[in-house]
């Protein structure tokens, strides 16, 4: 299954981005502030309509899908973890079934189990820690069984342990055949955990490929104007200045 953007442009924030993404992999979208990362993710999720260009899901224009049909296939996790009312954890996870209009007990239980949330089922979300809430919100996406998981900075508010835990869950979903697309600020996380990296700069694609190539020191210098180098072994690399 593929999700592709063809010459997508939007209001000066994106200026002709073309990329075809595949399921079964983690794709990271990186770039400096204001590069258009979140905008590209919203366009790929079908939440923003591009001024020009198209987004296609398995060769079909995303815009032509009914919002509910699209929602069944695209799971979107926004940057701000909004939870307006203090509902119980299981009720919140169950919101992922809204596009399906069924109870979806099996899927909800599976999503809660996958993210180790079963014991919290009846807890109000206000009683959870930030890391637990992040897992609940991801479980909400998983309960809808989407083909694609698109998450905007899902790791930003988490400590190291929760970051690695959430990335492990996302890797498992990619291994199951889902497409995982993440906006990431932390280049080390992208380097160590993404199969493919899209680097955006001022709304244009500055690099696209395996993490080691797309985040090479010379790309970082060109896009971020910072001189850096990678140290460590593949899978456990760290970015240092100079």
């Amino acid at each position: 299954m593929t999700l592709s953007a063809q010459e997508v442009a939007l209001d000066g924030r994106l200026a002709g981005v073309t990329a075809t993404l595949d399921t079964g992999a983690i794709t990271a979208i990186c770039g400096p502030n204001g590069a258009g990362k979140s905008t590209l993710l919203s366009v790929l999720a079908g939440l923003l309509m591009p001024d020009s260009g198209t987004v296609e899901l398995d060769g079909m224009a995303l815009a032509s899908l009914h919002p509910r049909a699209r929602a069944k296939r695209m799971g979107y996790l926004p940057q701000e973890p909004v939870i307006a009312w203090d509902v119980a954890v299981r009720r919140l996870v169950a919101l992922g079934r809204l596009p399906h209009r069924d109870r979806g007990d099996v899927q909800i239980d599976a999503a809660m189990k996958a993210l180790d949330l079963t014991e919290f089922a009846g807890h109000p979300v206000s009683r959870l820690s930030g890391g637990e809430r992040a897992r609940v919100l991801l479980a909400r996406v998983l309960s809808g069984e989407p083909d694609w998981i698109l998450a905007d900075e899902p790791l930003a508010a988490l400590d190291l342990g929760h970051r690695l835990g959430l990335l492990r869950h996302l890797r498992r979903e990619a291994d199951k055949g889902r497409g995982v697309v993440l906006v990431l600020h932390d280049l080390s996380l992208a380097m160590n955990h993404a199969d493919r990296v899209l680097v955006l700069d001022e709304g244009r694609l500055a690099a696209d490929g395996p993490a080691a190539d797309a985040l090479a020191a010379k790309v970082i210098e060109r896009v971020w104007s910072v001189s850096t180098r990678w140290i460590g072994d593949p899978g456990a690399r760290a970015l240092v200045s100079g």
Binding site: P67, A71, D86, L95, L98
Partner: protein, 326 residues
């Protein structure tokens, strides 16, 4: 129906017969002369009107708090109640001009409904295209403010002191001297309004996760907003048309209901309708029983209870976040 719904339905079944008997003069069906006529022609329509108006206000409050994700939201804030009130006040002015219609009992409700429809139309025109919540709220407040100013203008230019007193008294809201006519007018519109809220219940649930996540779950903002405007228009508009302005019901009721539910907006709509019906029915029975020289206006009584409740709510909000409120 959920647990809260059954609880309030049960209470309503208890309160309804009691309210029929309650009043300055308590009715004993066995001994009171003409009890059947009094019950059928005076008490029953008044009680059913209280149930109808309360149900509409309660459901509208639950829907609007869910939509705006704000426990302080009240359907009265969005211009439709003031629009209906403006329409009603206009009927005092235009009645004499319209001649034959002047004596019609339908004149005031008809004008109020036109006022509500005008406010709904204006709200849809300004906010409907984008479906944005901020624009919707601001447009509603603007319409409320404009309608309020025009109502004050109409009152200040009242042709005589009697007309002015009539207008001001009517605006206070009451169910005195209402008949089956008002029930027949308000009940179908209120039911239609509650149905509008029920149709979009899943979209209101999706909004728990915020606007972007809700859209990703298939919620279409402009369609949700259109149903809500229609729902508030039907419930609040018809309520004002038959009973004047009854404040705070839409604000208070969802807070009474929420702790008894799973707190999802969809779980609140029907129980809030039933709880709103119960609140207005009980309040109206109490104002009938109170030993005041003239009957205390229902709108004033509800505001006297509602204002301290609002203050209590604000104090609770200061202690915790909005999302953790009842």
């Amino acid at each position: 129906m959920n647990r809260a719904g059954w609880i309030f339905l049960g209470l309503l079944f208890v309160a309804l017969p009691l309210s029929l008997l309650a009043g300055r003069v308590w009715i004993d069906p066995a001994t009171t002369p003409n009890a059947a006529v009094i019950l059928a022609e005076l008490r029953l329509p008044r009680a059913l009107l209280a149930v109808t108006v309360g149900a509409g206000l309660g459901a509208a409050g639950a829907a609007m708090q869910g939509y705006l994700r704000n426990p302080l939201a009240d359907p009265g804030l969005f211009g439709i109640a003031p629009g209906a009130a403006l329409g009603a006040v206009a009927s005092f002015w235009f009645g004499p001009i319209l001649g034959i219609w002047a004596a019609s009992v339908w004149l005031l409700p008809a004008f109020a409904l036109v006022g509500a429809a005008g406010a709904m139309g204006l709200l849809a025109l300004i906010a409907g295209r984008t479906g944005g919540i901020a624009l919707f709220t601001l447009a509603g407040m603007m319409i409320a403010s404009l309608a309020g100013a025009l109502t004050s203008l109409a009152i200040s230019f009242a042709p005589n002191a009697f007309a002015m007193s009539e207008i001001v008294t009517w605006l206070m809201g009451a169910l005195t001297d209402r008949s089956w006519r008002e029930v027949c007018l308000a009940a179908p519109l209120t039911l239609a309004g509650i149905a509008c809220f029920w149709i979009v219940r899943r979209d209101l649930d999706a909004l728990i996760l915020g606007d972007a996540a809700a859209r990703s779950l298939g919620m279409r903002p402009e369609i949700l907003q259109a149903w809500l405007i229609a729902g508030v228009g039907f419930t609040v508009g018809s309520g004002v048309a038959v009973a004047g302005i009854l404040g705070f019901v839409g604000l208070i009721v969802p807070h009474l209901v929420r702790p008894l539910t799973d707190r999802k907006p969809s779980s609140l709509i029907v129980p809030s309708a039933l709880a709103g019906a119960l609140l207005v029915l009980v309040a109206d029975s109490i104002v009938r029983i109170l030993p005041t020289v003239t009957e205390l206006r229902l709108g004033i009584a509800l505001s006297l209870v509602g204002a301290p409740f609002f203050l209590w709510l604000l104090l609770r909000m200061r202690r915790g976040s909005a999302g953790q409120l009842a």
